[in-house]
């Protein structure tokens, strides 16, 4: 342990209390990874503050001593965003789980960052409301983590992401200042810092309170299952639905390999020999849902769906979703190990990109199962490998990287919802120019001049990724501005 950290520990105990600071290696071990389980790093120390004041005091201490910190919510992140720093403080919000207020007249809720996503919906549902962003991890993942990742879910196609629904934040800056941005009113004055902080992956400070908007439960919801004989046909149906004028709340798709995996695992009536299944959910005013359903069924049939099945009661709908929701786990049972990829392509490019992924899989002999948020072009190829084979991971990584390149080639993104974190920091140059990255870096430094907030995440650094030409170093813009005239 570094000397700076050793001297910090008694002061951290003063701030968070003896039970709010974990120093034993055994205790710290439980925090050495997040949802990206193959990346591990033992945190220098773990703190579990219970109040904003404690968070602020911890960050002031870090900033005063130059010790890095990493925020952590529930640790379900899939990009290693909460991967600890071995000589830093891991600050978890696990003990900040108070629901401050559910305010129905203002259609919002105010919560501490450690509150699990689903708790908000559970509290709002008796009033006819829910919290729209619904990552599949919603029973465990924290609202603070959702804010940091700008998480979406199956229904973000229609309802948007965390950024669409958050109205206000309390942020403790890396220098330990407490700032309230936004509130119950949807807009503030000045730059929209609320939405600039959303998706910043813990690099701009620690979010200590969140005000989220609640959404009225729709009058009607129906779920449609359609089976296709080829992935191509399924992809073409998705493109047709998206461009038809219907806006479903969700359009999900699975390929043959995922169907096979799922059928061995849960009871869902997906046709065993289908090459693709499509799940389309529609919600809204009853008459609109009915009319749209007719249209979607027609489009599926026109694109060769050999079976469609519609469910409108909750149990039956849940059965359709059960297969989709179990997909990652099911593939996990099929293969000793796998990489979950998270690229995005324009929806019109889906059929073509899926063909090219199939070709990549064939050439390399690496199996790839496709489970994805088809409606917004967000692919989750599961790249399978045998981790007992010394070369297995590397070969899978190669295919996974090639899929990302495909996404960028088609004008898409290297991450649709899992974030950049530690996992993709070195992939950012695939998507952004050195100038774009330099702009991001300047923005980051505006919040974190000394570079202690979740370092080595989100942006590539020479230490992690090797030198890149054209990257700005040298005089910092803040220093530069110090020399310019101030007002």
């Amino acid at each position: 342990m570094s000397e700076a950290l050793t001297t910090l520990i008694p002061r951290l105990r003063d701030i968070c209390g003896p039970d709010g600071v974990l120093t034993e290696a055994r205790e710290r071990r439980a925090y050495d990874h997040d949802g990206l389980t193959h990346r591990r790093s033992l945190p220098g120390v773990v703190v579990l503050p219970t109040t904003t004041a404690q968070v602020a005091a911890v960050l002031r201490l870090c900033s005063g001593t130059g010790v890095p910190f990493v925020p952590r919510g529930a640790g379900t992140g899939l990009s290693g965003g909460a991967l600890p720093h071995h000589e830093g403080v891991l600050l978890t919000t696990a003990r900040m789980r108070r629901v401050v207020e559910v305010d129905i007249p203002n259609e919002c809720a105010v919560v501490e960052p450690g509150v699990p996503n689903l708790d908000i919906t559970t509290l709002a549902a008796p009033h006819g409301y829910y919290y729209a962003p619904d990552p599949s991890s919603q029973a465990v993942c924290s609202v603070g983590g959702n804010v940091a990742e700008n998480s979406g879910g199956a229904h973000c196609l229609k309802y948007g992401f965390t950024a669409t629904h958050v109205r206000g934040l309390e942020l403790v800056t890396p220098e330990g200042e407490v700032v309230r941005l936004g509130g119950k009113a949807p807009d503030g004055t000045g730059y929209d810092l609320v939405r600039a902080v959303i998706g910043s992956e813990g690099t701009l400070g620690v979010v200590t309170e969140v005000t989220v908007g609640l959404t009225r439960l729709p009058e009607r919801t129906v779920t449609l299952l359609a089976a296709f004989d080829s992935l191509d046909a399924g992809g073409a149906a998705v493109s047709a639905i998206v461009s038809s004028g219907v806006l479903p709340s969700a359009v999900e798709m699975m390929d043959a390999l995922s169907i096979e995996a799922v059928k061995a695992f849960v009871d869902c009536d997906y046709p065993a020999d289908a090459a693709a299944v499509l799940i389309v959910e529609l919600d809204g005013p009853a008459a609109d849902v009915d009319a749209h359903l007719t249209e979607v069924v027609g489009l599926c049939t026109a694109h060769g769906a050999r079976r469609t099945h519609t469910a409108s009661d909750d149990d039956e709908r849940a059965r359709i979703w059960a297969g989709r929701k179990a997909a990652f786990d099911a593939v996990g049972r099929m293969s000793p190990a796998y990489i979950v990829q998270d690229g995005v392509v324009p929806r019109t490019a889906l059929p073509e990109v899926l063909r090219r992924i199939a070709a990549l899989s064939e050439e390399s002999g690496i199996r790839v199962a496709n489970v994805f948020h088809a409606g917004d072009g967000n692919l989750h190829p599961l790249v399978m490998f045998d981790d007992s084979d010394p070369d297995g991971y590397r070969r899978a990584e190669e295919v996974s990287g090639a899929i990302l390149d495909l996404c960028v080639e088609y004008g898409g993104s290297i991450t649709g919802e899992h974030g950049v974190g530690a996992d993709k920091a070195c992939s950012m140059p695939r998507m952004y120019s050195p100038d774009d990255l330099d702009t991001f870096e300047r923005f980051r430094r505006a919040f974190d001049p000394s570079g202690i907030a979740n370092p080595d995440k989100l942006l590539p650094t020479p230490r992690l990724c090797g030198e890149r030409p054209g990257v700005r170093k040298g005089v910092h813009p803040l220093v530069e501005s110090g020399r310019a005239t101030q007002f």
Binding site: G152, A185, P186, T189, N378, M431, A446
Partner: protein, 417 residues
């Protein structure tokens, strides 16, 4: 007429040389920005040209303001200086990938042109413009939109990517062209509503919506704040999914609530009935948006009020009371369930009246009032345009990071940024 001032001396010939190719010319009183006549005006022919112009401005240390349609040049505080006015008119081009419901459009493109192109394909950008004659860049830089934000999101929620020329002339991109993307910081959110103080927007990518086949507007008179609140609460309690619930509350002639429904024609009867039941009393149903939907008048001082949504009617009432107590008029209009209202003061309304209304609103917890556009006598009287701005020190840091020498629209934004 505003007295016109110029902040700099004669044009340095080497500046004109550096801008050659972008049609540089001396500024005239017709180019005035917030009372300031620019020294030089340039019109870059494209994105790369815009970057060259901005780089030249950086070399010469010039202050820069961009002009789109010129409909909001008097928004914000008057800039401290305008050495160079950059016209975006030639930054045009509409790249509409209709099947993806996405469009990338040059900042200088008139909003009306974009609307026509999208409309022809049965699609739309679901943000109601508040001004006529604006460009896409101007709309995004001012960041305001009308009442349909309720269902489709505010303008910022519809922006998925941007290209921006930085203060130092470097062309950068943020976001992308796909509807789902969390790679990197979402800097487009800062430029949206940033009034050009962090960079010059050259193109914007939006997510689009299909134009719904049917539209109905149910209008009811609102007799009092309490009456309006009852209607808003009753609407909330029903799953009628309105696109907008818009209040119009002038000083004279009584207040109205317009509930906009969009969707399939088949469903309209039932939804209209639901809305009428919620509103109670007499209602008028129309198949067209009211005249001037979402627009704010082009003249006079304009305030933007944000408050917790359940307090929208209380905020509208309070402004009305404060203004009427001074024997003046105000029109309050906006989205009730969003807590986002515009307060429109007729031209000539006294600075003291506006200051009183602004302070009266700002004194309530959770309410804010920003004077988006103020008449010159209001500026001269030193009326505070923004009130207290939470997070201002962070905003200054962001400005320092992206425009270290404070050359972009200096002084126009909150706290003199």
């Amino acid at each position: 007429m505003r007295p016109v001032r110029s902040t700099t001396g004669p044009v340095d010939p080497s500046v004109l040389d550096d801008l050659a190719g972008s049609g540089p010319r001396p500024g005239t009183p017709g180019d005035v920005v917030g009372g300031v006549v620019p020294t030089v005006v340039a019109r870059p022919r494209g994105e790369a040209d815009a970057a060259r112009v901005m780089a030249a401005a950086a070399r010469h240390g010039l202050s820069v303001v961009s002009r789109g349609g010129g409909t909001a040049l008097d928004w914000g505080a008057p800039p401290r200086s305008v050495d160079l006015l950059v016209e975006t008119a030639a930054l045009t081009g509409i790249e509409h990938t209709a099947d993806d419901l996405v469009v990338t459009v040059g900042a200088g493109t008139p909003v009306a042109e974009l609307t026509d192109v999208l409309g022809a394909a049965g699609q739309r950008l679901s943000a109601d413009p508040v001004r006529v004659g604006g460009t896409v860049g101007g709309m995004v830089a001012t960041g305001v939109c009308g009442p349909r934000r309720l269902l489709f999101g505010a303008l910022r929620d519809l922006v998925i990517g941007m290209t921006v020329v930085r203060a130092d002339g470097v062309l950068t991109r943020t976001g992308g062209r796909v509807v789902k993307n969390v790679a990197g910081y979402d800097l487009a959110k800062l430029h949206t509503g940033g009034q050009g103080t962090l960079g010059m927007i050259t193109s914007v990518t939006f997510r689009l919506h299909p134009t719904p086949p049917a539209l109905r507007v149910v209008t009811a008179a609102v007799s009092s704040r309490a009456h309006g609140e009852r209607m808003a609460a009753a609407l909330r309690a029903r799953a009628v999914a309105p696109s907008a619930v818009a209040l119009d509350w002038p000083s004279e002639g009584g207040a109205h609530l317009h509930v906009v429904l969009e969707g399939m024609a088949e469903g309209m009867t039932a939804r209209v009935d639901g809305v009428r039941a919620a509103l109670g009393g007499d209602t008028v149903v129309s198949e067209r948006l009211p005249e001037g939907w979402g627009l704010v008048p082009a003249r006079g001082t304009l305030g933007f009020v944000a408050c917790p949504p359940a307090e929208s009617l209380a905020a509208a009432e309070r402004i009305g009371e404060l203004v009427r107590a001074a024997d003046a008029d105000v029109l309050v209009r906006g989205s009730v369930p969003s807590g986002a209202l515009h307060a429109v003061f007729p031209p000539g309304t006294g600075a003291d009246v506006i200051a009183t209304a602004a302070e009266g609103v700002r004194s309530r917890p959770g309410w804010s009032l920003t004077l988006m556009r103020a008449e010159q006598h209001v500026h001269e009287a030193g009326v505070d345009l923004w009130g207290e701005v939470p997070g201002l020190p962070l905003m200054r840091s962001v400005k320092d990071a992206l425009d270290p020498r404070h050359r972009l629209a200096p002084g126009r934004f909150v706290g003199g940024i």
